[in-house]
Symmetry: none
DNA sequence: TTATATTTTGCTGATTTATGCAGTTTTTAT
DNA sequence: ATAAAAACTGCATAAATCAGCAAAATATAA
């Protein structure tokens, strides 16, 4: 097999599978690993693929690797946009906490006149930035892990409320120091919220649904 | 699995869920926790995520607070230091809001075990950063100008409390321009706080006293 | 064609990298 | 305060890489 042929095969292979192992190529083409390594090095110099220890990665894989951080954010934003469009003037809106809810808060139009009720401190801060939104805080003990208020009093208050719509984020847990979490109380609060609302919207990125 | 591949997976995972546990990654990728830890360390060095004890957090949602815009920040800090020294372990502490109170929150020693009760959203966020502090939120309507909860329910709740000490910041009140309706409510809340506490401390920088 | 020059390939041994393991220290939770 | 979990350290091992060299293949010129 000619050198050029071999390199074409390697390129095809790496683009097909996103990655190749030097050992695999060596056995399948039946040349020494050194040759493969030299080929990979050349192709890497020619910017045709990314050489890594043990094999190589396709160019596209690398770029997605770099952009992946924005990707998740973008999809969160588009979800938030759609969710925000469900809210109409004069509504009473119940929300939990979490990053998706924060994005929702940021996606709210300036012109919206509505009342938001929440136990989430970060969400409340976001709502405050909107000139035409009334914010009502549900008081009680603050859960460090989820940054929302939890407890019997909070649940009691929620039960007294009749909201038009309720938004629940699936990723309500966000912590800075330590990652353990007692979700139970948070779940109780969410349950109460759902029961107090005419409509419930659950915000989630599709990849999360396993 | 290639190292780069694994790191890409980790990055994708952390951006999707906002947090990852080393143990989870270890079992799902089937490598030792040491390897995961090394990966997380590398990604953290490369500024791709934030490493914490037990796992890592997504970089995208890291709130950074700028206190540069706050007036006379240094003198407030020294006041805060003195005020913080008045709080002892096991105390129930009532606080209002305002920049001076925020500084007080930041001046609290890590070791302090106490319960803080507040209607201020920014203050609550600060208290959350302290590992040994319980936070209780007073719920009600949120006043946009002062960022604290005001209203009959809030006052009712405060009256039920017996606190050891109460900190009130003076900066929420603009004496020169008279009291607006909104400020009036804030004053009512402060009054209630003062009545519910054995000791009251008023935080002020000297320039404020006309 | 033959002789010579050039490129390519494989091999050997030294070097680097990746990973896991054991023991110790630090952090966190109870 | 104490126990458990996580992190760090140093080390061992196996795999991958590198450097140089010699054989093999290929190209080139007389």
């Amino acid at each position: 097999m000619l050198k050029k042929e071999r390199q074409a095969f390697i390129l095809h292979s790496v683009n097909l599978h996103n990655k190749v192992l030097s050992t695999d190529l060596s056995t399948s083409i039946n040349v020494s690993e050194d040759t493969i390594r030299r080929d990979l090095h050349e192709l890497s110099e020619a910017n045709k693929l990314i050489k890594v220890h043990g094999g190589a990665l396709s160019k596209s894989f690398h770029s997605s690797f770099n952009n992946s951080s924005v990707y998740a954010i973008e999809s969160k934003k588009s979800i938030a946009q759609k969710a925000a469009s469900l809210i109409q003037d004069g509504m009473f809106v119940l929300t939990s906490g979490g990053t998706t809810i924060i994005e929702l808060a940021r996606a709210l139009p300036e012109s919206l006149h509505a009342t938001f009720i929440t136990g989430s401190i970060p969400a409340a801060l976001e709502y405050l930035h909107h000139p035409n939104i009334e914010v009502i805080i549900i008081g009680d003990k603050l859960s460090k892990s989820s940054q929302i208020t939890v407890g019997a009093q909070a649940i009691e208050k929620i039960k007294q409320i009749r909201a038009d719509i309720c938004f629940v984020g699936t990723n309500a847990i966000e912590v800075e120091h330590g990652l353990t979490d007692n979700d139970w109380e948070v779940v109780q609060v969410k349950k109460a919220m759902i029961e107090s609302s005419k409509k419930v919207v659950s915000l989630a990125i599709s990849e999360k649904i396993n």
